[in-house]
């Protein structure tokens, strides 16, 4: 059974290579910030079979809408995305999200800039499902001016753009705390042990024990009771943070559920295909070894 043994070795080799390749990346993230963690109850979308929890996405959307959206844009998302398959307001009755009454209702709550097609004047009108989420500031200069010089990052792909993804968002939102004694924090800045940064220059203590984390311009945005959940979930800081992190994860990777489902089918098919080809191989090579 030489061939089987070789295959076994090869698979092990490939897996080791894959592990090395995959683990090499997080090692880079260790830039002095505290390691991000999931909420206690975990996230429903982790793992190869994880899917989004629609109720959680709806709550997360509410947190985004009522808190985050005041400063953070979400330029890559349109209202219709909310009603697409696996989205927060998907309804199997409305395959076309543009017909979904909830999505229509949400869109109509926003005003977007447009040009009057008859007069050519700049006007604002009610948003439609195909419009993008309007940004809170007209441009980055305005965003910086309103936020003490720091531009609030766009949240469309924030979970893909940060090491730790949704866990990072959750940890950051719940992780604000008083700076340790000896750390000089400038006006308008806030200490957070999960925010990647280098505090060496602001730290008056021993240079070997610089505190983890960094400072950011965003004040702690969430607090208990700030958002009232429609489904009666207790509005704790942790719940709000977990829900909005889940919503942002969906916003960054709306096709994740479809991707994983397709993946399971593809791998199962390949396994069968492999078995058949390997059997053919044994038959072809019989007596030749």
């Amino acid at each position: 059974m030489k061939s089987l043994k070789t295959i076994g070795l090869k698979t092990v080799g490939a897996l080791i290579a894959a592990t090395v390749m995959a683990s090499a990346v997080p090692a880079l993230a260790a830039g002095g910030a505290q390691h991000a963690h999931e909420p206690k109850e975990g996230f429903s979308f982790t793992g190869p079979f994880g899917t989004y929890d629609q109720a959680q996405l709806q709550r997360g959307y509410k947190v985004y809408r009522e808190v985050c959206a005041a400063c953070h844009s979400m330029n890559l998302l349109s209202f219709r995305n909310l009603g697409e398959k696996d989205g927060p307001f998907y309804d199997p009755k409305f395959k076309n999200p543009n017909d979904n009454p909830v999505v229509k209702q949400i869109a109509s709550e926003f005003e977007v800039a447009d040009i009057d097609s008859e007069t050519g004047d700049a006007i604002t009108r009610k948003a439609t499902t195909s419009d993008r989420f309007p940004a809170p500031f007209p441009n980055t200069a305005a965003a910086a001016a309103s936020n003490g010089g720091a531009v609030p990052p766009d949240l469309s792909v924030i979970t893909k753009a940060r090491h730790g993804g949704a866990s990072y968002v959750y940890s950051l939102l719940t992780g604000y705390k008083a700076p340790p004694a000896g750390l000089k924090i400038a006006e308008g800045q806030h200490y957070n042990p999960y925010f990647p940064g280098d505090l060496t220059s602001a730290w008056s203590g021993d240079h070997k024990h610089v505190p983890a984390g960094g400072v950011l311009a965003m004040a702690p945005p969430l607090s208990a009771g700030q958002v009232t959940f429609d489904d009666g979930r207790e509005s704790t800081l942790s719940h709000q943070a977990a829900d909005v992190a889940a919503f942002l994860e969906w916003a960054g990777e709306p096709k994740a559920t479809l991707r994983k489902k397709t993946g399971v089918a593809v791998l199962a098919y390949l396994l069968l295909f492999f078995g058949l080809t390997y059997a053919s191989y044994r038959m072809v090579w019989r007596g030749k070894h």
Partner: protein, 430 residues
């Protein structure tokens, strides 16, 4: 294509008609059906077929992506995300293309190390080897330019760092750099031309691949025993024997590929590349993709900027010269008891260089371990570990290869492939 006489017999009238005008079916038949293949090829030999699949996958997905991508600094990032969100199956095609690059390099490294271990570069296969080296070099150029296209933070600053390497050439460096970037910084002109060249180069690679296969069919395949084909007993026809074996390996490879595409599509990339490029801010840790880390580490090992660039390109150039650096008369390291161990160390060193390339040079290798300052850095730092590995990398090619080849007593080499197969068969039974 080879010395092997053609055995193709056109059966139908159409085949006969075509064969006397353009014998393309004959060429394909002689090259991929009747072609005599050494019968002792192991699974390491399937990576050539795997690489053909990789190239095809990248070209097909790439052409599709180009239908939806916009090479403009204001739209590139968003057009990639639009592919992921709105284009039908766009997420699949883009993830296949992005992870496909990693898979391609993984396979090419295995393929190259196989050639190194079994002496596939030695006479009469020097040209075959050099063509392979050219393909590898073109792959690096293509992958680098492709990585710039999504116009994320890593794309942009990677392009800045790599194009600035050219600027380190004395005197003519800066004009060439400006010419290459089409401006005084990486900008719209750079992105646009990189897109054009990223589309072009895969077809150049495909052309060199044809030459590579042509050269392979002239000299015939090497094999684990490292002895040439002596008689018909030594070979099996390519189809079905090699095709079915390649098929098994390709499917196993696609399985690994799919695991990445469907379940960890971003694990080989950098989070920073999901932030749109901003010329005014450099990400905290700028590192190339994993497959270039080995060469990147060599670049950083040398304190002088220009010499660092020379060393990095030298690390690739030395592979081209390999056929003339190895003095051994024996091809396969199976029969080279000393060299085999230097090969193992070489593989570890290459992986080690890759690891070092991802670390900060000043960081401690063993945290807290006492150390002292040596010339320009702590001894217990990735800087010095990288230098140690770099030294071995070059010593392996320039010193160990020629020297061990002369000094080593190789084990007895089998008289023929069939003898080698028989010996192995008996060993397994006994």
């Amino acid at each position: 294509m080879s010395d092997h006489p053609s055995t193709y017999v056109p059966k139908t009238g159409i085949e006969k008609w075509l064969d006397s005008r353009l014998p393309i079916v004959r060429l394909a038949y002689d090259s991929f059906v009747d072609y005599p293949t050494p019968k002792n090829l192991n699974y390491w030999w399937t990576f050539g077929g795997i690489l053909s699949v990789c190239l095809a996958v990248q070209i097909i997905t790439g052409i599709i992506l180009a239908m939806h991508y916009t090479p403009h600094i204001d739209y590139a990032f968003n057009s990639v995300e639009r592919i992921m969100r709105d284009v039908n199956y766009g997420w699949l095609i883009r993830y296949v293309h992005a992870n496909g690059a990693s898979m391609f390099f993984f396979a090419v490294y295995v393929h190259m190390l196989r050639g190194l271990y079994y002496g596939s570069y030695k006479a009469p296969r020097e040209v075959l080897w050099i063509l392979g080296c050219i393909i590898f070099f073109l792959m690096i150029a293509t992958a680098f330019m492709g990585y710039v296209l999504p116009w994320g933070q890593m794309s942009f600053h990677g392009a800045v760092v790599i194009t600035n390497l050219i600027g380190s050439i004395p005197v003519i460096g800066t004009p060439i750099l400006t010419w290459l970037q089409g401006g005084f910084a990486v900008d719209q002109a750079t992105l646009n031309r990189f897109f054009s060249l990223h589309y072009l180069l895969p077809f150049v690679i495909a052309g060199v691949v044809i030459l590579h296969i042509w050269a392979l069919h002239v000299s015939g395949q090497n094999n684990p025993a490292g002895v040439e084909i002596k008689s018909k007993e030594d070979t099996v026809p390519f189809t079905p024997y090699a095709t079915v074996k390649d098929g098994v390996a390709i499917i196993a490879f696609l399985f690994l590929f799919s695991v990445f595409v469907f379940f960890m599509p971003n694990s080989l990339g950098h989070a920073d590349n999901y932030i749109q490029a901003n010329p005014l801010v450099t990400p905290a840790h700028i590192v190339p993709e994993w497959y270039l880390l080995t060469f990147y580490a060599i670049l950083r090992a040398i304190p002088d900027k220009f010499l660092g660039v020379v060393a990095m390109f030298g690390a690739i150039a030395v592979i081209f010269a390999l056929p003339w650096l190895d003095t051994s008369k024996v091809k396969s390291m199976r029969y080279r008891p000393v060299m085999r161990w230097f090969f193992v160390i070489f593989v570890v060193v290459c992986l080690g260089l890759g690891w070092c390339g991802a670390q900060l040079p000043d960081a401690q290798v063993i945290p807290g371990f006492p150390s002292f300052n040596l010339i320009d850095g702590q001894l217990n730092s990735y800087l010095w570990l990288t230098r140690l590995f770099t030294l071995y990398y070059f010593a392996f090619f320039l010193f160990i290869m020629p020297w061990i080849g002369l000094k080593e007593d190789p084990l007895p080499v089998p008289a023929s492939i069939s003898e080698a197969v028989l010996a192995e068969h008996n060993k397994k039974k006994g």
